[in-house]
Amino acid sequence: MSKKSQALPVDTVKFSSFYHDAFLRLRKDKVAVCCLAFVILLIIVAVFAPIIAPYPESYQDTANILSGSSSEHLLGTDEYGRDILSRIIYGSRVSLMVGVVAESIAVVIGVTMGALAGYYGGKVDMVISRIIEVFASFPQILFAIVIMFVLGTGIINVFFAIGFVGWTSVARVIRSQVMQLKSNEYVEAARASGGGNLAIIMRHLIPNCLSTIIVIITMEIPADIMYEASLSFLGLGVQPPQSSWGEMINKARTYLRANPTYSIYPGIALVLTVLAFNLLGDALRDALDPKLKNL
């Protein structure tokens, strides 16, 4: 028996699935691993913000207003004497939530529209493609601003505004992917065995787009985080006393001379987060779906 297994090492040949392969490729990429670690750290910080932050979000140390770094306040304080480090930590919650919730909205709308257009083609495709084109004619940030005007400020509305803005890029990619996939034999087989259109889309086409969807999500999350920061920077997004990095940068602008570092720290948090997601997205794309290179 042992001789046989030496000659034919069946038990050492592992069946590696598509995602397992991708994971192995990703693990070799040092930059990607660092970015993933940073994102995980960020999630931990956001979830445990009340434990990690040295001060409560709105605690005002009136003796220290607009102070620089000190042992009490590592990154200094703002115009109300609130600890900047603590507010950055709490602000990570807003950024991550926007990334997840807004992108989920965009993905649901985008995948539905893209799959319908790609699968049915013809008139359905023409109508949906025109709708996509109309939506994509507005600069994203401007469109988000107008939606915030319609819905009113606040974090829930930020989710919807950014979701409505982001769906077109998802729809475009899914549309072209479904178009290619639908001519595959397994789709024909599913139809021959009596599968309805909806079942084919839901059970066969969308699952086959999954790797693409994962890549798009990772690549769009940093953009969504940037839009939220921009909206809050303009005073149209998250409202004080809730802290958001964009809102902090906006407030800091008034105190450039009194405390220049006040404006710098929330920006660094924003840049690092966006950078980590961008690089992670690039690596995931290379690992999962090299065809999307020109996205």
Binding site: S137, F138, P139, I141, V150, F233, P260, S263
Partner: protein, 310 residues
Amino acid sequence: MAKYILNRLWQTVIVLIGVTLITFVMINIAPGDPVAVMMAKKADEATITKIREQMGLNEPLPVQYITFLKNAVTGDFGNSYFQKYPVSTLIARGFKVTGTLAVGVLLFSIPFGLILGILAAIFRGRILDRVFMFISTLGMALPSFWFAIILQLIFGLWLKVLPISGVNTLSGYVLPSIALGLIYGASIARLTRTNMLEVLNQDYIRTAHAKGVSEVAVVLRHSLRNAAIPILTYLGTLIKNILGGSVLVETVFSIKGLGSLLVEGIMKRDIPVIQGCTIYIATVFVIANLLIDLLYGLIDPRIRVSKGGA
């Protein structure tokens, strides 16, 4: 070619109608009575009803939309509620400033991106390539409004060499152009590098080298021209994003352009201004895209054939 152009024109008209429709619907479902906002609660009920009548706000929405569309085609977006000017005048005034800013952004980002991208492609895999690509990756993650503040701190407050607000002189445009242009320069650099690498691997480049054409000539005459086509496509998106991004940068530098006109309109709920700006900006993008597509068809004959021309 004629068929391709006609097709493209027809598409453009449909998209523009869609743009006005979406904007009109969105603004009209926004809560709050525009007349009440305009009068700032100073008028009594009867006056408000009278003004509503005069402004045609009692008509059914489809009728209002048709009237709106008819006026919009002639460039008439109504009068601002708060500034005693027609919206078209305000837009024209704002566009002069934002247009200059956009030119500044293009003048900064295109050479910046091309030079970085070409050098990175030529020295691919070496230190210079890594450094340039790191700069461009970082550039793509920098929020323009924050980078703008950093520039204000460095050049305005510490070095005191450039104005940090207003555009009374042309030098006022320098920092805003860099703040907004960095992210696009970074994207152009990446795009150029990828395209150049693709082109540099082609047989005709090897032939050119074999013929003894100098390195500079190979890059400039043979590679860049082919690598430039995708960049031309990017130009449409670039114009759209500059118009969008100007909202943020204009706020930081207190520039009275189209972006700050819109933001101010939003803050005051000045509906004609919001409507006018939104439609105007989208239209500029749609028309620019149309022109780019037509130009693209002229430069690259393969496109007009494949898109059902001939």
